[in-house]
Symmetry: D2
Subunit: 288 residues, 4 copies
């Protein structure tokens, strides 16, 4: 366990814990108007997109994150046709949304047009051509601005943003004010999901996001999944108007999985329940 010397990457996990990962390559390095963009290659995780020193996605674990983010919400809706994605610049989130054969339209709204262009060119292994799918419309705009002006209705909304305790850029998208506007865009059976950082290391911030979702949606579910290159288990929160993700029978999940012709590496109908049945991690619960 001693091959750590040489080029490495030091990534914050919390305020007082960090992950040190050996680098194989540091291929690209640029700064958009909004953030620093790096493409690196890690010994343990393969190629990776890094924004402002935080790993967003790596070859070897991005499917865990993106499948967990997208499919529980989409499977909770009986027939999602129109999906809104806020953030998700590297294109892997829309890639997952498009797997559902019933989806007819995906609007992806990202504030950072340079990052999206960059991803199109250099991150084919992430988006797998999703940007070329005729069902996709990409809008370069601040998420709040888009939502304010939008007159369309969506079945599912997926928030794929930087952490709620991360750069200021995404913070306003974790408030009940924003969730209310999202809720208004959603159909009667509408479902929203957001990644929510770490409930273990940043419990207070997490709780403020959870409370905001609860103030807007009648049905709220939490789950989390380990993302190896993050160094922690990533939390997700679902807000739903009508259907409870945990109450959908396994048989129904299997039926939808088959009907929608899904092909996955991590998510399965059983994993759907597995993630929702497993408790989330909280420091406070550790101090009874």
């Amino acid at each position: 366990m001693s091959e750590l010397f040489g080029a490495t990457f030091l990534q914050p996990v919390s305020n007082t814990t960090a992950l040190l990962m050996r680098l194989k390559r540091l291929t690209l390095h640029t700064r958009t108007q909004f953030q620093e963009v790096v493409i690196a290659e890690f010994e343990d995780f393969g190629r990776a997109l890094v924004l402002d020193n935080l790993v967003q996605s790596t070859e070897l674990d991005e499917h865990i994150y993106h499948e967990s983010l997208v499919h529980i919400a989409l499977m909770t809706h009986p027939l999602p046709k129109k999906v809104l994605v806020v953030g998700g610049g590297e294109g892997a989130t829309i890639r997952e949304v498009l797997k559902h054969s019933c989806v007819e339209r995906v609007v992806m709204v990202d504030i950072d047009g340079e990052l999206v262009e960059y991803a199109k060119k250099h991150l084919e292994f992430m988006h797998k051509g999703a940007f070329n799918d005729p069902r996709v419309e990409v809008v370069i705009m601040d998420g709040r601005e888009y939502v304010d002006g939008c007159r369309e209705t969506f079945d599912v909304a997926v928030m794929d943003l930087t952490d709620p305790y991360g750069p200021p850029i995404a913070r306003e998208l974790y408030t009940d004010e924003f969730y209310s506007k999202i809720s208004k865009l959603l159909s009667e059976e509408g479902v929203m999901v957001t990644q929510a950082g770490s409930s273990f290391f940043f419990e207070e911030v997490y709780d403020s996001v959870l409370d905001a979702v609860k103030r807007v949606f009648p049905i709220v579910r939490e789950y989390n999944v380990w993302v190896p290159a993050f160094g922690y288990t990533c939390n997700f929160i679902i807000g739903s108007k009508k259907y409870d993700p945990i109450a959908i029978p396994l048989e129904e999940l299997k039926k939808r999985f088959k009907e929608r012709q899904l092909k996955m590496r991590f998510y399965t109908p059983q994993a759907h329940l597995g993630l929702l049945y497993t408790p989330i991690f909280r420091k406070s619960r550790s101090n009874p």
Copy 2:
């Protein structure tokens, strides 16, 4: 995210990834015949037992590890009365076993008597007095030696050992030869569980352990749970003679939970299924 300077702890996660955690205190430091023993206190995880530079248990997350290790196996058996624990020197594993009111006898076999004495004195927050429970017998002996000479029958066997790719001391306890001997000690409804390190970072070693369990037990189940201070999700493997842990209905789990008067911080009947339903993490699965 910049309070990393000062006293820290650098812990290997894989061959090329490590966790750097801020230390609050470094209280004890000794070396037994078998290993280096440190008691540290981390900003993020509280007090911790560290063996040979690897965190074993911390105040804030040890319940996640120990409840996940013990209860799925014990709940799989309809009425466990006699339980064998191999390893588990800090006493938290027997603490969990003793929670099941039906348990009448626990034999804990650990090779490192100095560590056990040390834990009795300095790690009350781990064992919570479990060593004084009249149902417990502690045997200081190599696990293989004990198993060779044992004429008793057990309902459940729990292997709480250092990693299969860790110090040589525990490696022989991850072989089918050893599992066969364990199997002979188990009753007809017997269940065995072992922690198995990380299937993500050490997939080959993990698979050799999995294969060894499969060669001995007719029913085998895998699951994993994130342990924050390890920096990774820890794997567990169950070998069972008669009952399938995943096939026990939720209602039955709830009934046993109530009958055995269990009080938990992480494990619940629902979490039982949650852990077994969630896929384990493998790098190979990431390269389809």
Copy 3:
């Protein structure tokens, strides 16, 4: 070179470089009104005093720092009898000053009385009893305040402060305003010396200190010496009213060394010239 895992200490060297040093022990941890005080023990450097995450002195290299700080200035004065020390809470600077048999009185002014009490008790290996020398008077007071009210005259003044780019506490003691006041306290043959951080990593700050000394003293000399546990070469600046430290003949230095009955581990008359003859390290000089 792989024994880095385990308890370590991460110390800033510059804004983007740090030293990671294996810890053997972390013995004491307290916070005075002014700073965080830690006593640690490093594998490479032995016991150490650490203030606000910056190593101040270690068993194995503090003599390099303290002898370099004190003796060039004291040897530059033909017969120093009264010496003012500002800072130097651990007592090693006055220990060095007291070695000169001609010294009759040392006033040490430190703002942090708790630190001084702490050093008296726990850092005997630093001060070696210097606080008990009848020639020493310790004054707990802000350096500026002391200098404002002082009516005494000194032959040499030694500034042993935290870095000029470090915590705000010492910054006012690196200005020409302060040096003017020091100059007024000094006799006609008076000499002042200050440590000045790193001219390599913090060249601009260093230059502002150098300029401040130059505005006050007619003779100014710079030198630097590697202090292993700092991770860099530490700079010193001498301001002198009459004698040039570099112009004192080796024979005269040897004579004074003998007369004053000096015993050293690092400083010698030859080293005196060695340090003054060796260029200081500057990044700007590296870009011709």
Copy 4:
């Protein structure tokens, strides 16, 4: 002091101390028959050549190392015409040797031809065209082999090798057996110099090299200079047949400096004496 997150380089300084330096770029990465070659760019040190995870030279400090290595030896010889360089693949050592206008021939022997080709192409900022100087002959060969077969006589020999406690490749070139052969190639006024790693962190190895030089040469001098990107002060040992480097008067050094039309960034006649007058750093001396 918190801009350490992101791409970094972890470099061993001793067995239990390391330097963590922020990376700006990681441009090239190859493996020759003998070693791993990386060109990196550090925030603090600019572009750098790294062999087997150890920084060899950086833009901002290589002149300190190379001028200190070369010029004390060459200035000790009254009129060096023929110079042998063993190692020094990046070409900066011959660049310094060629500055002496009296030098008529330089033979550079390096075992790693791929590295030399690589340096010619990618490290112009190191060699500054030195490889094209008609006075230079480059021989790709093991140093011992070359010396065994050599029938030429040299005035100065410069050993610019990886550390004596580093990769096995250079170890045989730090023995008295090898120094005897070097001595036979040197003229009557011949001088040899070798870098010798760190006498502070690897004192035993250093002493074995020092002893080896002493067994072969009548006059031996030690000196050391801080090289910022190494994280330590680098030692050098001179073995001389006739002239003592420390005994050459400053006036004579100045005369030679002028005659040979030298232009330097770090070395000066005064620095020559400064380096030789300053004690080297030893842990043992720290424990009186």
